[in-house]
């Protein structure tokens, strides 16, 4: 596969599908989804009572299902949906259901490249995950916090490994949960196991754990850190996979810890959503230096500006030099890069996208009920009924924009300098 370099990057606007022509064919059309390359537009459609299909560029899948939900394109462009036939559920990929069927399926996960697809499954009131259609050999009484490794080879979740009835509070407090990677449970139980992440090579799994009602720490492959904290948030492996970092609460303040030891000197009212730069030299996190004031801290140093309500995940540029984040002040969303706020504000902003050369930053934005794209704080002049998050070409000089305008789906390739 050659990825985005194989896509059509010829400058211009192309009508891909006239959605209005679909309307007579179906009872209703659900939410539209555009493929990553912009060449296809798809939606779940209702044909008759308990008869659903998926319409892609005006053509429906050959298979009809009793129910379809969670239609999503994988990053590599395959179209997936959770489908039901005769009371059984599975995942359909480009219209073809997996061979294995289950009592219920949910929570579709893709790895970054889209080569692998995982789902949560329930069969006979037991819970497990299926990776590319193949279920775990073991199943459990309950399962939460499902995750898929970066390379797509491993799945993991928090699982209940001992029987428990509602009301058995002391049994629960002895620890009936652990993590399972690929269906293999750790040999140590905890009261709770939450958000987890794999090492880059997928061989190690780190998770938030609660070992008593009051003791929180991080466990890696089942072994808890020696240090106990008042609370913790999601752990991350560094890009080399040698250490694990996590936000930890000490006393009434939060900081960042590495392998159980305090890494950052600063203490914050809150610290979460930490991210590594691609080269592993920087860590950025969302922090609240004071109550009700939010910003990004990079390697322990908060930006000079703060926001009132919300700061979303920091995003590193590919060259590791820039950091962008979206934030909310009252009812307006803004974009901030390296501690400087864009002049434009919006009713909603989607995740920031850096160009491969790190020169430009693009976001999907909403203002006054219309959607468009902003690059480097400059707005594309086209106000649309819907747009999807933009994608730069490899050179970073063109951008793919997918839009709905007057019920027609268009694919644009625009030179970046036409907007900035």
């Amino acid at each position: 596969m050659c990825g985005i370099s194989c896509w059509d990057w010829n400058i211009g606007k192309r009508l891909v599908a006239d959605i209005s022509s679909w309307e007579d064919k179906f009872n209703w059309i659900e939410e539209l989804h555009a493929s990553p390359d912009g060449e296809r537009i798809a939606a779940i459609v209702n044909i008759d009572e308990a008869e659903f299909s998926v319409c892609v560029n005006g053509e429906t899948w050959e298979n009809i299902f009793d129910k379809i939900w969670f239609l999503r394109f994988s990053p590599d462009g395959r179209l997936t949906a959770i489908v039901s036939e005769d009371g059984e559920w599975t995942l359909a990929v480009d219209g073809i259901p997996w061979e294995n069927r289950f009592d219920y399926v949910w929570n579709t996960l893709f790895n970054k490249s889209g080569t692998d697809i995982a789902v949560a499954i329930q069969q006979d009131a037991k819970y497990s995950m299926a990776l590319n259609g193949v279920p775990w050999e073991n199943s459990f009484d309950n399962m939460t916090s499902m995750t898929l490794s970066h390379d797509g080879t491993k799945t993991a979740a928090s699982v209940q490994v001992l029987p428990h009835k509602e009301g058995e509070i002391f049994k629960f407090q002895e620890g009936i949960y652990t993590a399972a990677a690929g269906g293999i449970a750790w040999d140590k139980n905890f009261i709770n196991v939450w958000n987890m992440s794999f090492s880059p090579d997928s061989n190690k799994l780190a998770a938030e754990v609660r070992s008593s009602l009051y003791d929180y720490t991080i466990a890696v492959n089942g072994k808890p850190w020696d240090q106990i904290f008042g609370c913790v948030w999601e752990p991350l492996f560094d890009p080399s996979g040698t250490s694990v970092t996590a936000p930890v609460k000490i006393g009434e303040k939060w900081t960042l810890a590495e392998d159980g030891k305090v890494l950052w000197d600063s203490k914050f009212v809150q610290l979460w959503r930490h991210k590594y730069s691609y080269d592993g030299t920087k860590i950025a996190a969302v922090v609240a230096p004071r109550f009700g004031k939010w910003t990004i801290a990079v390697n322990d140093k908060p930006w000079g500006i703060t926001f009132e309500d919300f700061v979303c995940d920091p995003v590193f540029s590919p060259n590791n030099k820039k950091i962008a984040a979206i934030a909310k002040n009252s009812d307006k969303w803004v974009v901030a890069v390296d501690g400087k706020e864009w002049e434009n504000n919006f009713d909603m902003v989607w995740d920031p996208v850096f160009s491969p050369d790190s020169e430009h930053l693009a976001v999907k934005v909403e203002k006054n009920g219309k959607y468009t794209i902003a690059i480097d704080d400059k707005l594309w002049g086209n106000e649309c009924d819907a747009v999807w998050e933009p994608i730069f070409n490899q050179a970073g000089d063109s951008i793919l924009i997918k839009t709905i305008e007057n019920n027609k789906y268009y694919r644009y390739i625009i030179p970046v300098n036409e907007i900035v």
Partner: protein
């Protein structure tokens, strides 16, 4: 008449409290009390304790005191004296038996409704003080079994009733299918990124009140609302951990709720008719995480109904004919200021609205809220006896129907109606809207 009904409310054994208390030793108690008082409370608590002059003006504000023969030990000041007062007097050197007793007082004899604070000349927040006691009891592992189980459910599932992830989505799809029998094109849109509104509920709805989700879907579709519901944990806005004193789980719940709304890129969260969850999202839980206000705007169903009716997005086919009275839930009326909007809604829907007295922010508590009903069956009889004043208040209205825009209030008042054999139906506001609204042909 001190000692009134004492035989029905004392010597209650709760497994969580008894077994938890049996594990305690005096040193552990002293250490935990010191830790909580030194690191988690500040001048606020000290000033409250030092300021109270025991004037007794809080007494008549408390439904427990009024219902229990005006026994001073059930007055707000009396409950502080029996708990924190003793802790301070003995400098934290209290016994396991005392902690068990303090847990019962703080969790079943106070609904943290804050009515007494309005009558205190100094504005002392007795609810806050009772929550400090609950926090100490939580840190010592002495919490009533039923509500502790609820906190455990929250910790695993992020909802309060052990609803598993597939059960949640399956229930939404079931209700969508049910509603399609009435309105063939109706949808409950799941995971619709960019919708205007995320609708969130509490776990009793999918667990055993699924018709409320059905009704909400009808209201949303009729009003033409661009809405969604999440298919992931984060859909439940409730928070019994706030009431057990497990603030770490409370924070985890609120983060999950607001992160879900942010992930779905909605402009606003509309929550169902629940009171305590409103307190958790706009006041307590959000602030524990460092948010001064809810990071995604969130409105209670009452306000949402008000907006829909005011804008004409819902039209009334024919007003409800039976006489109705309205219970003002503490967290959305005294705490959230929705008294006028709730009356606008009720008058828009009903022909014959009879105010109960006292009302609005002065209304008597349901005696279910504050986690009291969640302490479960061992305390049910006590909960009935210690809210006779509410039964008298309901009876005096002569109304046929009681409206309760809060789940805990609803359940507690349903118990009161049954216990005191009051001839009154109870409904949510959405029950009435569903019944009287114009629906699409």
């Amino acid at each position: 008449m001190p000692g009134f009904a004492a035989n029905k409310v004392e010597n209650i054994l709760d497994e969580g409290i008894e077994k938890g208390g049996a594990k305690l030793d005096n040193k552990q108690i002293e250490d935990v009390i010191k830790s909580v008082l030194d690191t988690e409370t500040g001048e606020r608590l000290k000033i409250y304790v030092d300021t109270c002059v025991h004037c007794g003006l809080c007494s008549d504000a408390c439904h427990h005191f009024l219902s229990m023969g005006r026994d001073p030990k059930y007055s707000p000041a009396g409950k502080v004296k029996r708990t924190l007062g003793e802790i301070f007097r003995k400098k934290g050197k209290v016994s396991p038996e005392f902690i068990k007793s303090a847990s019962i007082i703080a969790s079943t004899e106070c609904n943290v409704c804050r009515r007494c604070s309005m009558y205190c000349p100094f504005g002392i927040d007795v609810a806050y003080m009772m929550k400090v006691v609950r926090r100490i009891c939580h840190k010592l592992g002495v919490t009533a079994l039923y509500i502790q189980d609820t906190a455990h459910s929250h910790s695993v599932t992020m909802n309060q009733m052990w609803v598993k992830e597939d059960e949640w989505v399956d229930t939404l799809q079931w209700q969508e299918e049910e509603a399609q029998a009435e309105f063939p094109k109706l949808r409950i849109p799941l995971e619709k990124e960019g919708a205007e509104i995320m609708y969130s509920v509490i776990a009793p709805e999918p667990k055993f009140q699924a018709q409320l989700i059905y009704q909400a879907a009808i209201i949303m579709n009729t009003a033409g609302i661009d809405w969604t519901m999440p298919a992931t944990p984060g859909w439940d806005n409730s928070d019994m951990a706030m009431y057990t004193g497990d603030f770490e789980i409370m924070g985890r719940l609120k983060r999950s709720h607001f992160d879900t709304a942010a992930r779905l890129k909605v402009k606003k969260i509309v929550m169902g008719e629940c009171g305590h969850a409103f307190r958790s999202v706009y006041d307590v839980g959000n602030r524990w995480l460092g948010w001064k206000r809810p990071p995604v705007p969130i409105i209670h169903a009452l306000e949402f109904y008000y907006d829909l009716l005011k804008a004409g997005k819902i039209k009334i086919r024919e007003k409800y004919k039976k006489s109705v009275t309205l219970h003002d839930p503490c967290n959305v009326i005294r705490g959230g200021g929705l008294a006028d909007k709730s009356r606008y809604v009720v008058n828009a829907l009903c022909d014959n609205f009879i105010e109960m007295h006292p009302n609005r922010e002065h209304n008597y508590c349901c005696n279910a809220g504050g986690g009291v009903i969640n302490c479960g069956p061992p305390f049910k009889n006590k909960r009935m006896v210690s809210n006779k004043v509410k039964a008298d208040q309901l009876i005096a209205t002569g109304a046929e129907v009681l409206l309760s825009p809060c789940h805990n209030c609803y359940s507690g008042l349903e118990d009161i109606i049954g216990h005191y054999k009051i001839n009154m139906e109870i409904k949510f506001i959405s029950d009435i809207i569903y019944e009287v609204m114009e629906k699409p042909a």
